[in-house]
């Protein structure tokens, strides 16, 4: 048994047989061939060169017809590389003298060339390494025949272990068969990580080199909550995980019965439980669990996923997709919240500052880059014809920022009017409350917006001056800190004084312990991770508003985070023993 740790990006447990993918998605079956087989292996290699060459010729012909010779020349160049005498000589040399398999020899030689290109210090040539990798892929495909499993065509239960998965490969994974995955590279905010969460597949990334320690088909456990991969587990470990998987299954089956039931407290108060989404496809995770709407539609993926800035139609189509699935339920679209930990692939230089969380990000960026901001606003206003859309501005800190954003929205409406384009001019406008300054001015803000949404993730980080991504201080990051509770109470009170709606959309509202507290503090709308919707509803259906208010009163009187959290944990297990959170 061997345990390797990485970054936990998508919770859950997966137990299954390992399906291995090397750096470029191929499994090289064997590195060496027997001495007697050398000549037949060389013959196999030459046949592969022929096959790839024919394929490239065909590509060249098609590209030439469709795009012109200029583009087709690339494939001609690939053929020249493939037929390079020195290259072929080197690969055959390795097969003959070292008994390398053609796959291993070709991969090694081509990778050496790619490395040379990458190390020349010339960005253009460094990119050509991709051409070499492409050639390697083609050669391996020809050598391995159709044995390579397409990730999207997996039809057996497996756990995927890979050097890396591209976002498109991840998006194509079928959660029915792919029980979980683990990769050597990747970070918390990589697209692959975000997608894993959206697909609800247990996943661990950034483990570092570990593929060499696993054999194909070996039993592995992926613990997406702890960020661990256990290779060849012993009987006791396996049993422990099987039990936890089974109890999770039973719990899910029980919660599934809640999908159609509304979140109503035993004393008859309706609480709206909405879903937080990032990708349009996630809307189904919300609807199937009976969400009351989408309380936070993050739109960063439109920017992060693409190489070029998204067009108005890209925005519009994504929004319409979500609205269609939600029919008449509300969808709160948050405008661009880029910056800090979310940086687009194009990586403009202003992102590289010492303190990005306090830098040019989010609404500040939108107010600076108004043309891009207007494109998004146009798309939202147009899409709003098809459903109950609300616009939300992130990271608003001063009233001037809010007014500027609203003014730009007004300009966009005028433009649409002038162009006689159909749109909805009565879209409610709200703001995220996630900066302590905005909490202090909540009464002033409440006069100028239609709703508040409390973003606890950033509010906690700014109020407690803690970067939760920094392991040295992450233990100080506590949603249960009394200061956080009071900040939230201030926002709720201000909203109530001015008769506007208020939601909590941070991770705090997906944490079972905090549900009774938030209801007791007066919140009637919560927006949570889709997977948490049934659990949140379940708790609400077990706690009366009277009880919740009592819990809130008691919690607000405590003066350290640990006491608050312990108290809330105790109350939760009293209200609903099955939700006692596991640590």
């Amino acid at each position: 048994m061997q345990t390797r740790s990485g970054i936990a990006v998508s919770p859950g447990v997966a137990i299954g047989e390992a399906l291995l993918f090397g750096s470029e998605g191929f499994q090289i079956p064997q590195r060496f061939v027997s001495v007697d087989a050398v000549e037949s292996e060389v013959g196999r290699f030459r046949a592969a060169i022929e096959a790839v060459s024919i394929g490239l010729e065909e590509n060249q012909r098609v590209a030439s017809e469709r795009l012109g010779d200029e583009y087709a020349a690339i494939f001609g160049a690939h053929r020249m590389m493939l037929r390079d005498k020195k290259l072929i000589g080197e690969i055959e040399g390795l097969i003959r003298t070292k008994c390398f398999s053609p796959e291993f020899a070709a991969s090694r030689v081509l990778r050496n060339y790619a490395k040379v290109f990458q190390n020349l210090g010339n960005p253009y040539l460094a990119e050509r390494a991709a051409d070499v990798f492409d050639l390697e892929k083609r050669l391996l495909r020809a050598l391995l025949g159709e044995k390579r499993p397409e990730l999207s065509h997996i039809t057996e239960h497996v756990v995927i272990l890979a050097h890396n998965l591209t976002p498109s490969e991840t998006a194509g994974l079928d959660p029915e068969f792919v029980l979980g995955f683990a990769t050597e590279v990747g970070g918390r905010t990589s697209h692959t990580a975000i997608l894993a969460g959206a697909l609800e597949i247990p996943a661990v990334v950034g483990i570092g080199n570990f593929l060499a320690d696993v054999s194909p088909g070996e039993l592995v456990i992926i613990d997406g909550g702890r960020g661990e991969v256990i290779i060849d587990p012993d009987e006791a470990t396996l049993e422990k995980y099987r039990v936890s998987l089974e109890s999770r299954k039973q719990e899910n089956a029980r919660l599934a019965e809640l999908h159609e039931l509304p979140a109503i407290t035993p004393d008859g108060v309706r609480v709206h439980v909405m879903g937080n989404i990032e990708f349009p496809q996630e809307v189904e995770h919300c609807t199937e669990r009976g969400a009351d709407g989408v309380g936070l539609y993050r739109t960063e993926f439109l920017y992060l996923g693409a190489r070029t800035e998204p067009t108005e139609e890209d925005h519009y189509n994504a929004y319409c997709r979500v609205l269609e699935s939600m029919s008449d339920r509300p969808v709160v679209i948050r405008t661009l919240d880029l910056g800090a930990d979310k940086v687009p692939a194009s990586g403009a230089s202003f992102y590289e500052v010492d303190n990005p969380a306090l830098g040019l990000r989010s609404i500040r960026l939108s107010l600076r880059d108004t043309p891009q901001f207007k494109i998004q606003l146009r798309a939202i206003l147009r899409a709003a014809v098809h459903g109950d859309v609300r616009i939300m501005f992130p990271l608003v800190t001063t009233l001037l920022e809010l007014r500027k954003a609203k003014m730009i929205l007004g300009d966009v409406m005028e433009d649409l009017d002038d162009a006689r384009i159909d749109f909805n001019r009565d879209v409610p406008i709200g703001m995220m409350v996630e900066v302590p300054a905005a909490v202090m001015l909540a009464d002033e803000f409440a006069r100028e917006v239609d709703f508040f949404s409390i973003g606890t993730n950033d509010l906690i980080q700014y109020a407690l001056a803690v970067d939760r991504g920094d392991p040295n201080v992450s233990s100080l990051y506590r949603a249960g800190d009394p200061s956080i509770l009071r900040l939230i109470q201030m926002v709720v009170d201000a909203a109530n004084r001015h008769g506007i709606n208020v939601t909590v959309c941070g991770q705090m509202s997906s944490d079972p312990r905090f549900i009774p507290l938030l209801v007791g503090m007066g919140l009637r709308t919560l927006s949570v991770t889709p997977i948490s919707i049934p659990e949140v509803k379940d708790i609400i259906r077990h706690v009366s508003v009277g009880q919740a208010e009592e819990i809130a009163r008691h919690a607000l009187a405590l003066d350290i985070a640990r006491d608050v959290e312990n108290y809330l944990r105790g109350e939760l297990s009293r209200i609903h023993p099955e939700h006692s959170p596991v640590d």
Partner: protein
Amino acid sequence: MKGENGLHLVPCSQIAQCAGGFDCEIRILKGDRAVDASNIFDLMSLNAGQGCQLELQATGPGSDEAVDSLAKLFESDFQGHVKRAD
């Protein structure tokens, strides 16, 4: 080198293809580094950017013709010579 991207993938393939059609030995030099003009990988690893001075050398049968053909490729900045490899 006139082209913006210098001696990039497509020019290298054209040079290698052209050089491969002659029996003589053709080398391209950048400073004191020389590579076989018929080897596309070596040509690219010359890392010859725009404005870079290169020298052509050929020895053996047909070397004059070979240098002429290659010089034309460079002069035309690899335009209009996008031949399909046969």
